[in-house]
């Protein structure tokens, strides 16, 4: 499973890049975070405060092992702006994937 944290407006590009690899299954959610990019300061009614978390989009894609590297590269290509806050990709192992509708498992389910 690839978990990517990207800038929200890059979602379209990433999705298209994955589609080109034939990857159609994707789950996204809205997250917030900080990394090297540490948020910024705002003023509300005269008081400064720290906005610590920047909105990001999290993408989860389960792919067969052979596609993992390609997918990872595709995401990086599509999501990179070169500016701080571009995000991270984490690659994890999935023991099994099951399609609820059919009960299929493994690569065929993806």
């Amino acid at each position: 499973m690839l978990t990517a944290i990207i800038k929200p407006h890059k979602l379209d590009a990433v999705d298209e890049a994955l589609a080109k690899l034939g990857i159609s299954g994707i789950t996204i959610s809205e997250v917030m975070g900080h990394g090297r990019q540490k948020g910024h300061t705002e003023i509300y009614r005269g008081a400064e405060y720290q906005v610590s978390y920047i909105p990001k989009t999290k993408i989860e894609v389960v792919v067969s092992d052979d596609l993992a590297d390609k997918a990872s590269d595709a995401i990086i290509d599509a999501a990179r702006t070169g500016n701080i806050g571009d995000g991270m990709i984490f690659v994890g192992e999935i023991g099994e994937a099951v399609r609820v509708r059919t009960g299929e498992t493994g690569a065929i389910a993806l």
Binding site: M32, I43, Y44, R45, G46, A47, E48, Y49, Q50, V51, S52, Y53
Partner: protein, 442 residues
């Protein structure tokens, strides 16, 4: 047979009048008299002004809903509709006669309830009950001010209990002193539509309440840090401000108390224009000043700026010229931008900025009266401000302390963290829109 009823009425009327189409005064007994005409116009002004001010209750509800965090929104709605209802009942049960049943130069009216006059008793220049209605909605306004300051931590029922006394006793007693014709009136105090008598009264009660209640958990840290807790909905806060602005035409315009002559009608028009100008000037002042101070416009300050202008012009919306109205509003807008962070420095936690808007600008507006109204003087204005401030603060403090010592004023820490909506109402204002976890909403 609503239509027929009218037609019948007309037939009756016309059997008398149309037969004499020459008009009003031809036949003195049946025609409309000047008194009748004034009566209808003045009553109409009270009813128009009254429903516009009633609408301000919705304005406060929306402004406050937008300025609190989502976990406290339903509770602030409940407080607002509750307090308006309580004001409506208490001003009938005690308020009106306490306020307007006072002897000339006196201190307090009578503890009796208001009754509709009979038709025969309507010999004044307006319908008695139209005045009741108009004055009642003013009373409700004073209570609305308090709910915003104390939001997000005060318990529902103790707050409403305070409103019972505020609207039934505190507000009417001090109101009697000036508008009822009591001692402050004789002392020369002048407050056309209530910068002090309505707005500061709410402001004092709120300030004393905020001091006794303390700040919201997490608002101020031990190192002097201030942690803003941004409001949950800027469009609702904006809507609330626009509603209040609209209602203010009734608030100030209706306070002319008469409409049926050229002078009265043109005075009401003048009041409308000055009211709008002061509000507009307050907005522009707040926007420019926040841009200068903070390099960004603060929308919540701009909204407060509108209200600041409105409160400031309320003590005397008639006599200023347009430039003076603008100036009064500008100073109101500046006062708000300056006072909001000042209160934070003092660790006085005013969720919606009601103290800067209603108390500070209420004082400013009252002090500004002699600038344009020659029949007033600063001494009397200061006496009025102080007398009402001391009275309202003292009685409010006693009341807040009694409530604190008996039923308790404040929800538990856990309830405050989890939100008053779940704790006090068992429901959520927006059950389907999860609050994003962020430190400021901790």
């Amino acid at each position: 047979m609503r239509k027929l009823r009218l037609i019948t009425a007309l037939l009756i009327a016309s059997s008398v009048c149309l037969a004499a189409p020459a008009a009003l005064a031809q036949d003195g007994d049946t025609a409309v008299t000047t008194q009748e005409l004034q009566f209808v116009f003045n009553t109409l002004l009270f009813l128009l002004g009254g429903f516009l001010v009633m609408w301000m209750a919705a304005g406060f509800a929306m402004l406050e809903s937008g300025m609190v965090r989502s976990k406290n929104v339903a509770t602030i709605c409940a407080k607002n509709i509750g307090l308006y209802s309580i004001a409506g009942l208490m001003f009938w049960l005690f308020g009106y006669n306490l306020m307007y049943g006072v002897d000339a130069g006196g201190w307090i009216g009578s503890f009796t309830w208001y009754e509709h006059p009979t038709h025969e008793a309507e010999t004044g220049s307006y319908a008695g009950t139209s005045d009741w209605f108009f004055q009642m909605v003013f009373c409700a306004t004073a209570a609305s001010i308090v709910s915003g300051t104390l939001a997000e931590r005060i318990k529902l029922w103790p707050f409403l209990a305070f409103c019972v006394v505020l609207t039934g006793i505190i507000y009417p007693i001090q109101g009697a002193w000036t508008w009822g014709g009591g001692w402050l009136k004789e002392a020369g105090f002048s407050d056309f539509a209530g910068s002090t008598i309505v707005h500061s009264v709410g402001g004092w009660a709120a300030l004393v309440g905020a001091l006794i209640l303390g700040a919201r958990i997490g608002k101020y840290d031990s190192k002097g840090g201030i942690h803003p807790m941004p409001g949950s909905s800027m469009p609702l806060a904006t809507l609330g401000t626009f509603i209040l602005w609209l209602g203010w035409f009734g608030f100030n315009g209706g306070s002319q108390l008469a409409l049926g002559t050229i002078n009265d009608a043109s005075d009401v028009a003048r009041i409308f224009a000055n009211t709008n100008t002061a509000a507009a000037a307050g907005v522009v002042a707040a926007m420019v000043l926040t841009q200068i101070l903070y390099k960004k416009v603060d929308l919540t300050m701009a909204l407060n700026g509108a209200l600041a202008g409105l409160v400031s012009i309320t003590a005397e919306p008639l006599t200023p010229t347009m430039p003076m109205a603008a100036l009064i509003g500008v100073i109101g807008g500046v006062l708000v931008v300056v006072t909001v962070p000042l209160l934070d420095k003092l660790k006085i936690d005013d969720v919606v900025g009601a103290i800067p808007v209603h108390l500070v600008c209420g004082i400013w507006g009252t002090l500004a009266v002699p600038l344009t109204n020659d029949s007033t003087n600063f001494g009397s204005q200061i006496i009025g401000i102080l007398a009402i401030g001391v009275f309202v603060s003292a009685v409010s403090a006693v009341l807040w302390f009694i409530l604190k010592g008996t039923v308790g004023l404040r929800v538990s820490e856990e309830d405050e963290r989890g939100g008053l909506d779940i704790a006090e109402l068992g429901l959520e204002a927006y059950p389907e829109f999860g609050p994003v976890t962020s430190p400021s909403t901790a």
